[in-house]
Symmetry: C2
Subunit: 499 residues, 2 copies
């Protein structure tokens, strides 16, 4: 069923004076995009003309990745990459260890670096942005460009009734993957041209018409194989929504509910973990990454297809209901307000970790003799996960997001960035170690996904015997498959290595 | 640990020109209160002088109870009680069946009744109030009194930047129990003077200094054994907070988590249900209602005390963390905004029920041969529930709510209204059939309580052998016990009968 007030997607176009922008039609709507690659590096100096210093502020997840990628891509150009951090902080030592130094002017105190940079890439945490934005704005030179990798600051300023200073450009380049993936795939890109994490870019303030090219240059220098346009508002909404849904929140809820379900069916803890979690972060994720969601079809036998259909048909609507709620909470500003309030409670109520939960204890046992146990594509797990993924795709589509954003935020970021890390380190590790904003969102919404599956969706499911042994028609014919196929042709196929 | 910005409780006083107001000291802070009872009925005409018609608008949970109680209490006075509803609605027929009739002017179309009444008691649902408030305000006579039984409309008006009309009194009388309890205990009050549900009252607008006495008369006529003062803001915050916490949300999460825990320990479904749910809504609730929380002490043996302490010590801080979040979400207006947004999604995403969940299926089996199975006070269940109750008491106390409100909203309403109904009909029935606002809140927060218990609190718990066999000191010495004892002396002891 479509919502009554569906927002129609419109052509999502942009031009560049420097880069060869192409067009693509995604589900009938045209979008501009820039195909990245090291072959574009010679164009960077033109796009960044007049920018003699890029200040990368912060050393969390994105900071180390972006600072190192930019330094490498801009080597030998007139643009220096300088990291700005609190002097004496632990991060300061880490940046030093990564080769940034006070001696050669590539490392310095945060606000001095901001004041001395033509492009300031602000990668401190959401909470730190909320706390320090006034000082940052004051330090910015008139005519400089403020760069963000996430629309959070815009949403925060809206919530408190403030604005960006009128004297600077404001742009965003938002990698659709965690910092470590941005770095890891860039490194792989040395051998395979075009390997990298896709990004979206947005221009919020443009003083002299050059903001788009600065953003595109930043994105190319990060190694993005595919850059598409968004707005800061659309980005922050899809980003906060996505991490609360398929990227973290839904995955967390799904694996917990499936684990309990398989236990209830009589599986031993390690076998239940294998079906619920290992299958998802392993073979299911790999197949979607290589061949898209429809790739799951050929890996399932008749019983597997029956399980897939049963799970998909039952879960899709439940997921969509929770996700419609998440979308409303995000777009209304409630969710940002919640994050700000939560940060104020941390001194009294510190966040707890979930790594000691029964499933993660079983997971830790499982992982100790990984490789000795075979992990198949579990049809029921795949159907549940696909139900959540498609629900997210449809919610974003119904709210008018461009399909590049939908596909990246709902599928590509999941299978090429988050899930490989979850496979390497565990879903619990991700939930306990992602950004504070994501972590709060996951802990808030994960249990909602789990509860609706356990208390409503699974108990109401039809019998396996009554389920046809084909995949659901509305899954197989969904336009996202064609979109994914087109987008996958834009970048080299490679295995995401997480070590 | 106390929060940094604790709000100090202050004396909570009021006077009356008609009723014999008394004073009580609760945990060192003075409060005024009115002891109710049928002996005060002769004072009602004086307090309601000039009010020839009370219009009771709505026939949901509170409507039937308040209309019937008021009619009975005001029989033979100059004040008529008239029910106002949508003509031709199902409610209209129900009100007729309860003896209200168009012929004698005690039943009519909603807005005509509003326009013809001197005191309008607005008991339509929160969603309907949000939808119809403008029409209601327009229909009110200048000089009339608008009565609410919940501060929701104030919170809603704040959220949309609107105000009550300046030409009317605005008061609230808020029974600390569901409508059916308000009616049932009033009926029991015919034999046992003073039986009834406690209420809080608040005066938001007072045109001529008579608003307090009108509110007190309304409360006495409902059968409230104990009436205390609050503000509409304090009421709506404590009410929304309470139903999301101990009254519904926390209970729902607790029984689900305990049920799973007992299953994991090897119990069969019915035995797990007996320990997790039946023990709570049965003997644990009865003991607290009769002898307060400390009454649990004498019902437990050494092992039971060990279980109680283990559960209490582990859960209290976890509950408090979630409840601190709920309190912030409510007081910030986020929660009201969420309810309003959710109501707009219902046509596309109807609310589902939880009655088919595995626990409720086991519960239905259990209930079919209830009486054949003995139900004891389970120490672990009691300790978990007490942990949640005390966490709620402390959160409200730290935010400066008067102790009458704290005790009623956290303990008395639970054990004398909600839990007896849960015992009779099931927790799932309550969750699926309470007000939309409460239902949304329960479905949002119940899973959060469940998840933190299952994933964080229970796995981190100390061994039973390492636990002393005394109740926790900080539980036994909590000031709420003395408060409860004082309040219990204000009303007759009687078993809450739910049929």
């Amino acid at each position: 069923m479509k919502p009554k007030q569906q927002v129609k997607r419109v052509p999502n176009l942009f031009d560049s004076r420097v880069f060869p922008v192409e067009r693509i039609e995604l589900d009938g709507v045209e979008e501009s995009f820039l195909r990245g690659g090291r072959n574009l590096f010679p164009l960077l100096p033109k796009a960044l003309a007049g920018i003699s210093q890029i200040g990368v502020i912060g050393w969390g997840s994105q900071g180390p990745a972006q600072a190192q990628n930019l330094r490498e891509s801009l080597q030998g150009t007139g643009t220096r990459v300088t990291v700005g951090l609190r002097t004496g902080s632990e991060s300061f030592m880490k940046a030093k260890a990564a080769g940034f130094s006070e001696a050669d002017g590539t490392l310095g105190e945060m606000f001095s670096v901001i004041a001395a940079s033509d492009l300031v890439i602000l990668l401190i945490s959401d909470a730190a942005q909320a706390q320090l934005y006034k000082k940052v704005f004051e330090a910015l030179r008139p005519g400089a460009t403020l760069g963000l990798s996430h629309g959070f600051l815009l949403a925060y300023l809206e919530a408190v009734g403030e604005h960006f200073p009128a004297t600077v450009n404001v742009i965003a380049v938002c990698p659709k993957g965690m910092g470590p993936s941005v770095r890891r795939l860039y490194e792989q890109g040395r051998e395979v041209n075009g390997a990298g994490i896709n990004t979206s870019f947005g221009v919020e303030q443009d003083l002299d018409g050059r903001a788009t090219d600065i953003a595109l240059a930043w994105s190319v220098a990060l190694g993005a194989p595919y850059t598409f346009k968004t707005t800061l508002k659309s980005e922050v909404v899809s980003d906060l929504f996505g991490e609360r849904s398929i990227l973290l929140g839904a995955v967390h809820g799904i694996v917990e509910a499936l684990y309990q379900r398989y236990l209830d069916e009589g599986a031993k803890p390690e076998a239940a973990f294998n079906r619920a979690c290992e299958s998802l972060t392993g073979p299911i994720r790999q197949i979607i990454s290589r061949n898209g969601l429809v790739g799951l079809d050929e890996h399932l036998d008749a019983n597997g297809r029956r399980d897939f259909r049963r799970a998909y048909d039952a879960t899709y609507a439940s997921f969509k209901g929770v996700m419609a709620e998440i979308y409303d909470e995000v777009v209304s500003g409630n969710e940002v307000k919640s994050v700000v309030m939560a940060a104020k409670r941390f001194s009294e109520y510190p966040m707890t970790t979930i790594e000691g939960s029964p499933m993660w204890t079983a997971g830790a046992d499982f992982r100790r003799h990984r490789g000795q146990i075979k992990t198949d594509v579990d049809g029921f797990t795949a159907g549940t996960f696909a139900g959540a993924m498609m629900a997210q795709v449809d919610i974003l589509e119904e709210h008018g997001h461009p399909y590049s954003e939908i596909a990246n935020e709902s599928i590509i970021e999941a299978v090429d960035s988050l899930l490989p890390y979850m496979h390497a380190r565990g879903v619990a590790y991700m939930v306990d170690n992602c950004s504070t904003t994501a972590r709060l969102g996951t802990r808030k919404w994960g249990p909602r996904f789990q509860a609706i599956l356990e208390q409503v969706t699974f108990p109401a499911m039809v019998d396996r015997e009554a389920t046809p042994d084909q995949m659901p028609e509305r899954f197989l014919t969904h336009p996202v498959h064609e979109v994914l196929h087109k987008l996958s042709e834009m970048r080299p196929a490679l295995d995401i290595a997480v070590t």
